[in-house]
Every structure is written in structure tokens, then in C-alpha cells.
Amino acid sequence: MTHRSFVLACLAPLALVTTAFFLLPMGRLMLVGATGPHGLAGYLDIVLEPRYRATLINTVVLAAATTLATMVIATISGMFLERHRFPGRSILIAMLTFPLAFPGVVIGFLIILLAGRQGVIGDLTQILTGEKIVFAYSIWGLFLGYLYFSIPRVILTIMAAVQKLDPGLEEAARSLGAGPWAVQRDVVLPALGPAFVASGAIAFATAMGAFGTAFTLATNIDVLPMLIYTEFTLAANFATAASLSIGLGLISWAILRYRAHSPAAPWRRRADAMRDRLIFIAQLSFTLLVAAFLVVPALLSISAGITANYFRGISSGVTLQWVAQVWELYADTIALSFLIAFATLGATLVIGVPAAYALHVRGGTLSRVTEEVVTLPLAIPGMAIALALLLTYGGFGGFRRSWMFILVGHVVFTLPFMLRSVMAVFATIDVGTLDEGAASLGASPMRRFIDVIVPNAMPGIVAGSLMVVTLSLGEFNLTWMLHTPLTKTLPVGLADSYASMRLEVASAYTLIFFIMIVPLLVAMQLVAGKEQRA
């Protein structure tokens, strides 16, 4: 086999899966969007119909507010953490980043524990002011939930960017006479511009498409994903659901696209005072507060899961009865989740690793376009992908009813992560030359791939694998739409229990989810840390 045909063979599985389970369904979705009473004009309803327009505006405002707040919080804490070394720093970082892979449903539940009817904020305000403040089920609850899942991501991006800054840049600026203040303003913050834009875009796009949190809070908050969900499942209004999904997908995609081309954003000066002792303490307190916001609800949930009666408090006794009950009721969802997660991993490895190699060595416009298309699911809300799959393959009863249907959704959703992770490694190790080196020694393309390419891509493959398993285990947006009563995964079960079980059972179930997901997150951080040191 020549090298050319080997590279093409590497791309074949990717092309097949992407076409069948992403491009085709998305095309179908677009068509369905135009089958309403107004035909193609149905697409305009998103902005013309007052109810839809209000929802759209609501969603955009909420996402923008989330992004802004997250950026401010994460910049203060992220720069602070990367710039200072103090005891307990790594624990603080771990606390700030562990909610990284919590699905929206779980976050919704945590917000309820924080600000719901039985929440701590309610209890505290009751004691302090005599009036119980409950806002979990309002737009504020949703805002808090979005903050909860945006903060870890953005903090990580900003910390990585600060760390990658070439110290030579700062030194050069200082050698040219720039004071610490001017260095921050003219060198550091502009250099971080792309990271700000990138993480802001991600925060915005995720907030636009998030569904799980709103779903758990089960309020009448009008945001686009909820609207799509109700139009589709309750009103069986397929055309509207489809056109709204396309609209939502386009907005998210455009935002994420913009990120790739935006120049360094100008940024206001702030960091000059960082040396100041007072500011150090202020920043530390602020960061501790943020960490508390992330950790306290999780701790509440854990304690609730092992408390005999949450309403009466921990004094009612510690018990494993709820955990046992969850195990009895939901053991099969846990097993199915693992089955799907590992099948997803297998598929993304087989499809993603060769494809990443092929896309890297081929280069050129076609590869760039392919990469763009394949990573689209990153930008398109799971809701839209699920809808597209349902509209295309819903009619294939056997397939629709089996767990394979969910698997397909997970593969489409996680493939970009595997691809990106492996390609990132390829970008740093000059695989092209290694490949040529092995070729000059007589190795066939296949042999080269096995002996040289894969072993050297290992860090990316491991990181990608952990990511895929973690995401698959926690995936809700797609899975909720694709599941059947007989194919429930863990997050689907969680949503079930949040809706119908007593708080202790829901908490115990959440606890089990934490136990499963936290080791994966820790492993992911370790791998990332090892990469950075290397």
C-alpha cells in the first residue's frame, strides 16, 4: 500500500461516521426545519414570532452575562493562582477545577441544594433576616448554574495561557525600560488576549446550548434549549424544533468560529497592583470564595446522600441505606453507562487516531475543511444533534431502541475531543519527519503508524481517552433525547431521581456519580500536568 492510499484509508472510517451520523442528520434537520406551515420562512419565526424572539433574547442575554461574569472571576483567580506560590495552592486549584465534567443535570441539582427550597442560602437567610430567599428556580438559578460550569473551564484556559507566556517577553519589555505596570498592560494582557477570547467564546456557546441545568431546575425559564425540548416532545412540533435547533447551532458555531480568527483583544489594565500585599489577600479571599461556591454544593450533596434525614440534618445519623437503594434501583443504568462509555472510547480510538494522523500529514485546504466539519459537534448544542439523529434514524425501530443509538450520539459528540487531543500532540512532535525517518529505514506505512506514530502520540491518546470516557459518562443533553425506558444511562437516571425521588436518594445517586467521575478527572489533571512538565 502506498503512503497516499494508507492516509486515505485512515480517513475512511471518519468520513463514513461523520457523513452517516452527523452531516446527513444535520441536513435532514435543515429540511425538516422548512416543512412547517410557513415553509422556509419558518426559519424567520425565530426572530419574528414574539415568543421565540423573547426566548432568543433571553438566552443571549443570559449567556452574555454568564460569560462576562465568568471572565472577570476566572481572570482574577486564574492570574492570581498562576502568579503566586503559597501552601495549599494545588488543593485550591483542584477545588476550582473538579466540577469540570459535571453534567448540567447534576449542576442543576447542586444549585437546588444551594438556593432551592431546602437550600443553604434559604436556611441562612431565614436565620439572618427571618425571610427565606429561594431563587434556584428563577433565571438567577440558571445564571448561577451556568457560572458553576463555566468557571472551571475558563480558569484552566487562563492559567494555561499565563503559564505559557514566554518569560523572555516580560524580560525584554523590562530591558526596554517598561515598569511592572507597563509590562502587564503592554505585554502580558495583550498576549493573553487570544486565551480570553477563546475561553469567552466557549463559555458563551456552552451557555447558549446548555439544557441539563434548566431541565433539572424545571422552571418556566424561557431559554432556547428548553423551548426546543418542549416544542419537540410536548407539542410534537418537529419543524419548529428543527428550525430553532438550526438557529441555535448557527449562533453557537458563529461565536466559536469568531474565536479562531479574532486578534488579541485589548484588555484593561489591572495587574500593576498584584504585588501589593493587600491585593494579594483580597485576591486570595476572592478565590477562596469562588472555590467555596463550587465545593460547598457538592459537599452538601455528598452529605445529603449519607444522611438519614436531610431535613433534620446530619444529627439524624449517617447511613448507607440511600446508596444501597440507588444501587438497587439504578445499577443497570450505571452498567449501561460504562458499556456506552467504553464502546465510545473504542470507536473514537479506532476512528480518531488514524484520522488525526491523516489530517495532520495531508495538510492543505481539504484537511482543514474536514477538521472543521468534524469538530462542528463541539459548537453545535447536543440538543440539535440529538434532534437531527432522531429525525433521521428514529424510524429504524431496532436501532432506535438499542443502546447503539445512544452510542452513535456519544461518538459524534466526543470524536472532536479525541481528534483535537491527538492532533495537538502531532503538532508538537513533527510526526512528518519521524514518519519519513522510519520510511527511510524501510518501514511500510502501516508499520510506521504502529511503531512510531502511535507510541509518540500516546500522551494525546491517553488525554483524549480520559476526556472521552468522562464526557460519555456524564453526557445528558444528547442522551436524554436519545434514550428509551430500557436504555437509561446514569445521567438520565439522575434526572429521573431528581424529579421523582426524595432528596437523600437523589444525593446518594449524585454521590455515586462523583465517585465514578472524580478519579477520571484526577487522572486527567495528572496527565495534563505531566504533559506540561515534559
Partner: protein, 361 residues
């Protein structure tokens, strides 16, 4: 020593040009013969197409249609690099980070199905030959630049290649190490007797290693010859100036004499023409008393460079002349000096004179 001689082949490149997909014309169609066991150096400034030519021979690029690469008369167009049996040393070395030093060196043999024991013996032999004893089990990232270079060479040679191809293998190293490795490389290549094609932009390296040098410029071969040829008898002004330091003197040639502003110079050619272009190497000019010479000028500057001093003399020719004087001579700026050059040391080039030449008054 049981080292067997390489199985070198004669290589012929026939009308090989290369136009890249984006339209870049990297190489004009060129024909070149490399004898069995010969070391040929491709020399030229950055971007002149050296790597492209090497990659065509390796089979990593295909020449434009009409071009052929022949190994011992056999067209290898249909053979991808993995079947051409070429040893290649990359500028970045391309050592496999996932394998130890020994595994890197033995990889080509493993691919060829050589038994473990034979492989170990061969690896040991190369480790000895390239002076990297004791490093066999190291990881690649635990090696210094010079050690990596040796591993890369050992790995390429281990497969007993038909042709050894080296792309600027010493460029990543510092000057002193480069010089030492150049000597080692020269001895090794001679003892192996493999046909070798060596790319460099360093003219000192080219002259030290090459049996013949191919000087390239802008995708074209401008001269092929022994180091002595290209240095002493360059065919063009480009070659003269690219290799070593050269004074290019443009003047009228009358009956075997160059008429210069500061006097006259006898040359070996008895002809006459208005615009002759001559090359004079700085080390062939000697400084004498002004009265004793047919040509004289003023010292404009002296720089001491250790083994000699570089003297700039104005007024002798239209442009300042560079002269290499012994480091013990006493030369003062502003002083008038005579210049003596033997007629054989003046090499007339066929290039036309540049039109900005104005005789000084």
C-alpha cells in the same frame, strides 16, 4: 575490523525538476551523475533547492514529469522511499523518542527481519564506530546534540544503504563540535565507501567532505567540480563569491594586462577586451613596498583575525580590494602599499561586467 564496505550504487538524476503544488519552482530540470562510493556535496544558499533535490533522490518527492532517478541504471520511480534502501540523516535527526538509542539504530534491521542476535551485533559495531559507547539504553531526550547526530548517522548506516543522504546534518551544532564531527564523518564515510549525497550551505564543510561539489543557485546547478575546481576556477561570479572570499575586479584587458586605476596587472590570458571580470582570492595578493610593484593603493583598514590580518586597500582597483596578509606584517591605515599578484592567481570569469563600472580618475 570486520566492517564490510557499503553496497554503494551509482546514482543518476536525469532532467529532474520540481514544481510544488502551490506553483513554487523549487528546482529547474537538472541532470547529475554520482559515481559509486563518491561523496557529492550539494552546496548553495538557503532556498536554492538542495533539500528538494535530496528528497527527490530519497523518494520523498516525485520529480516533475520527464525527470528520472536511476540507481545503477535502474529507474526507481516506482519505489517509495521504504523500498529504495537509502540511509537518511535528517537535519532535525528524526530520532524516535519512543525508542532507546539501540532500538533506534536497530530499527531498520528489525524491519528487514534481521534476527535479534545479528541485530545486536550490528548495533554494537555501529555504536563503536560512531563513538557512542555506553549510551545504548538512553532515551533520545537524554542525549546531547552531538550524540543525537551520531545516533542518527549510526541508524542510517546500519541498514547498509545503497545511498546515504544527509541534509545539513551538522547545522544544529555549535561551531567547535561541528568541526570535530566533520572530521569524524569524513573518516567514517571514506571507510564505509557508501555513495553519499551531502547537503550543506557551509562552504568549508563542503570542501572538507566532498569529492565533488555541486553549487546551486535559485533552483539551478551553476557548477559541478572538485573542491579545488570550484575554489580556484569558478565558472561564474556567483560561485566565486559564494565559496570563500573573492575580489571581483572589472577592468579593461589589453594584451594580457588588466588596466586598473592603481596600475596594471599581468594575467595568464593574452587577449584583449574592454570589460573583463577577474577574480582574485585575498590570500594570493602579497603586500610589498609601493615602488617594487606595478599596482599600488592605500590601506583603508586592517582587522586582525588571528591566523592572518585582513587588509582593505583602496585606490588600486575600482572597488576596495581585500588582502590577506601574514599576522606578523606591520600594516598601518593610510599607508601606501604595493600589491603583487602572480598572473596564474588571476582567474578571468566569463560573466559580463556590471554596467555601473566607472574608471576612477
Amino acid at each position: 575490523m570486520t566492517m564490510d564496505l557499503g553496497h554503494g550504487v551509482a546514482v543518476r538524476i536525469e532532467a529532474c525538476g520540481k514544481t510544488f503544488a502551490d506553483g513554487t519552482r523549487a528546482l529547474e530540470p537538472a541532470t547529475l551523475d554520482i559515481a559509486r562510493g563518491e561523496t557529492l556535496v550539494l552546496l548553495g544558499p538557503s532556498g536554492c533547492g538542495k533539500t528538494t533535490m535530496l528528497r527527490i533522490i530519497a523518494g520523498l518527492e516525485t520529480p516533475d514529469s520527464g525527470g528520472r532517478v536511476l540507481f545503477d541504471g535502474r529507474d526507481v520511480a516506482s519505489e517509495p522511499i521504504e523500498r529504495r534502501n537509502v540511509g537518511m540523516v535528517f537535519q532535525s535527526y528524526a530520532l524516535f523518542p519512543n525508542m532507546s538509542v539501540a532500538d533506534n539504530i536497530g530499527y531498520g534491521l528489525k524491519i528487514r527481519g534481521v534476527s535479534k542476535a545479528d541485530r545486536a551485533a550490528r548495533v554494537a559495531e555501529l555504536v563503536r564506530l560512531t563513538n557512542i559507547e555506553g549510551l545504548e539504553n538512553r532515551r533520545i531526550d537524554q542525549l546531547s546534540g552531538g550524540q543525537r547526530q551520531r545516533v542518527a548517522l549510526a541508524r542510517a548506516v546500519a541498514i547498509r544503504p545503497a545511498v546515504l543522504l544527509l541534509d545539513e546534518p551538522l547545522t544544529a551544532l555549535d561551531a567547535a563540535l561541528r568541526e570535530r564531527l566533520r572530521g569524524e564523518l569524513d573518516r567514517l564515510l571514506r571507510s564505509l565507501g557508501i555513495t553519499t549525497i551531502y547537503v550543506t550551505h557551509d562552504q568549508a564543510e563542503a570542501m572538507a567532505l566532498g569529492d565533488r561539489i555541486v553549487v546551486m543557485s535559485k533552483g539551478m546547478i551553476t557548477q559541478v567540480g572538485t573542491p579545488r575546481d570550484v575554489y580556484l576556477r569558478p565558472e561564474s561570479r556567483f560561485v566565486a563569491e559564494f565559496i570563500g572570499a573573492a575580489n571581483i575586479v572589472e577592468a579593461e584587458l589589453r594584451d594580457g594586462r588588466l588596466l586598473l586605476p592603481g596600475g596594471i596587472l599581468a594575467v595568464a590570458d593574452a587577449g584583449s577586451r574592454p570589460g573583463a571580470v577577474a577574480m582574485i582570492r585575498p590570500e594570493t595578493i602579497s603586500l610589498t613596498a609601493p615602488e617594487a610593484a606595478m599596482l599600488s593603493g592605500h590601506v583603508d583598514g586592517v582587522s586582525f583575525v588571528g591566523d592572518r590580518q585582513r587588509v582593505i586597500v583602496t585606490g588600486a582597483a575600482a572597488k576596495p580590494l581585500t588582502v590577506d596578509a601574514s599576522n606578523s606584517a606591520v600594516v598601518r591605515t593610510g599607508e601606501r602599499v604595493g600589491l603583487t599578484i602572480s598572473p596564474e592567481a588571476i582567474w578571468l570569469l566569463s560573466d559580463p561586467p556590471s554596467n555601473d563600472v566607472r574608471p576612477e580618475g
